[in-house]
Amino acid sequence: MNWRAIWTIYKHEMSRTRRTLAQSVVSPVISTCLYFVVFGSAIGSRITEIEGVSYGAFIVPGMIMLSLRPLSVTNASFGIYFPKFTGTIYELLSAPISFIEIVIGYVGAAATKSTCLALIMLATAHLFVPLEILHPFWMLLFMVLTATTFSLLGFIIGIWAINFEQLQIIPLLVITPLAFLGGTFYSITMLPPTWQTVSLFNPVVYLVSGFRWSFYEISDVSVGVSLGMIAVFLGTCLIVVWYIFKTGYRLKS
């Protein structure tokens, strides 16, 4: 393992965040505040409680997930797409590093960034509603696993994309709709039975449900199933990344 190279990529990616501090840190904090004003206060005041938890507190886990996923995807996809776009990718390909080291560097940095932001959002949320986290360890684990999985997905998108439009299209057309329909602002038990069944095909449901369980011990599906599904997504992404590097897909001719 060329640890120094991994560390170099990691540091390089993290330093990008410092340069775009306003965009990367301030904007999620502001959007958290906005969600609380709209859903927590304006709408939430008319909804009493869901399964014994105040609506404001109920939406916190879903809201964090709502930001964590696209952030992980964009961080990682931009991270690897940019060298492709500017041409500096030649350096990565001609350096004495393996593909797995490149992935660890880029995906590790992207996941770190989005996890940090999720924690900042959690702290911001704490200013609006009293929070209790029954299983902090599991909360962190769900957070890190989700960040890693979606960073891997972002990395794949970054490799696959050959223009800026493609880079945006999956987060916009797939991830955002799934996130909104995945029980972020509601429990899927509030839906009619048919839609409950449809929702079970939405992977996001499992992520939100498990994450919410770590806060309040309430969930739409069992925690084991949630973890299992995350493992499936993570495994799928790893297989795709492995294939990309084995074949040099869109990287090497």
């Binding site: 390089h12 500017t86 350096a95 040099g248 001719s253």
Partner: protein, 306 residues
């Protein structure tokens, strides 16, 4: 041998055959020029050796290590300056150069980075963002990046494309210093003069094949033919007898005399020719010299292949 290439071929996905069974040996500490027109396969050959392009067949070793099975060893030895100016516009000069060193797994070494930046007149710009630099300065940054990890082999792909005279001089100084420290240097160019100025040996590549590999001096003798064209005032029916000792050809319906000579010969015979023309009373309105273009030379080289 520092680099040994055998039966190397590369066919791209679209069916284009960029390299057709290349065999090449490059010695330690040599300055080797790969000469060829655009699209000849120069960049593909370099890209394969550096690990950017996957070969379709054949084998390459660098310092005895196979570039595929032992890529970590070979790539650690190699520094690459690609043809295009590809840089991280938003980063500073110092950052990208240190980044390159780290990527190659080398310990940070402030003294080495300082030396590289000073040699390339970049030291004063180390904290500047790359997008604020001129094209020539960006080219220096590319070279600094390639030298950051102290390579033993340096590839310079079209290093002087769009580079001013001053930088060219500096660059050749850096190349000479590197060679003095034992670094092997391979550069590609489509300018004969460039190969002439700097290389020990020259390979001519065209359509994915090495046409010849030769010592520079020998090649220059072969490629050194030049022509002097004289536009005449009056039409000539034939080359006058008095001038028959010169290698002259009549062209443009007798309005032009063409004299072929060797630029590397001790005497080119031009003075004698002009004197004889004067004595023969042949007046001319204009004259120009031309050197056969590299393309023409390639054609003649390919034709003369057995």
């Amino acid at each position: 041998m520092m680099i040994s290439v055998s039966h190397l071929s590369k066919t791209y996905d679209d069916g284009f055959q960029a390299l057709k069974g290349i065999d090449l040996e490059i010695g330690r500490g040599e300055i080797f020029a790969l000469l060829g027109p655009n699209g000849a396969g120069k960049t593909t050959l370099i890209s394969v050796i550096c690990g950017i392009v996957t070969p379709s067949g054949g084998r390459v070793t660098v310092d005895g290590h196979d570039i595929i099975s032992n890529y970590r060893a070979t790539r650690s030895l190699i520094g690459l300056v690609p043809q295009e100016l590809t840089t991280d516009a938003f980063e500073t000069v110092g950052h990208v150069v240190r980044f390159s060193r780290g990527l190659f797994g080398k310990k940070p070494d402030a003294a080495h980075i300082e030396k590289v930046l000073k040699d390339l007149s970049l030291w004063d710009r180390r904290d500047n963002q790359i997008m604020t630099l001129s094209g020539g300065m960006k080219r220096r940054v590319m070279i600094a990046k390639a030298l950051a990890h102290e390579p033993r082999v340096l590839f310079l792909d079209e290093p002087t494309a769009g580079v001013d005279v001053e930088l060219r001089k500096e660059m050749w100084q850096v190349v000479h210093d590197l060679r003095a420290s034992g670094v092997t240097i391979i550069l590609t160019t489509h300018y004969i003069e460039e190969a002439e100025e700097i290389a020990d040996r020259v390979a001519v590549i065209n359509h994915g094949e090495i046409i010849l590999v030769e010592d520079k001096a020998e090649l220059m003798r072969k490629l050194g033919k030049k022509q002097l064209e004289l536009e005449l005032h009056a039409t000539l029916k034939a080359v006058p007898k008095k001038l028959s000792q010169h290698d002259l050809v009549l062209a443009a319906d007798g309005l032009r005399l063409i004299y072929t000579y060797d630029t590397h010969a001790e005497r080119t015979g031009i003075t004698a020719l002009l004197k004889d023309l004067h004595e023969a009373g042949i007046r001319f309105r204009d004259l120009q010299t031309t050197q056969s273009s590299l393309e023409e030379i390639f054609v003649s080289l390919v034709r003369s292949e057995p």
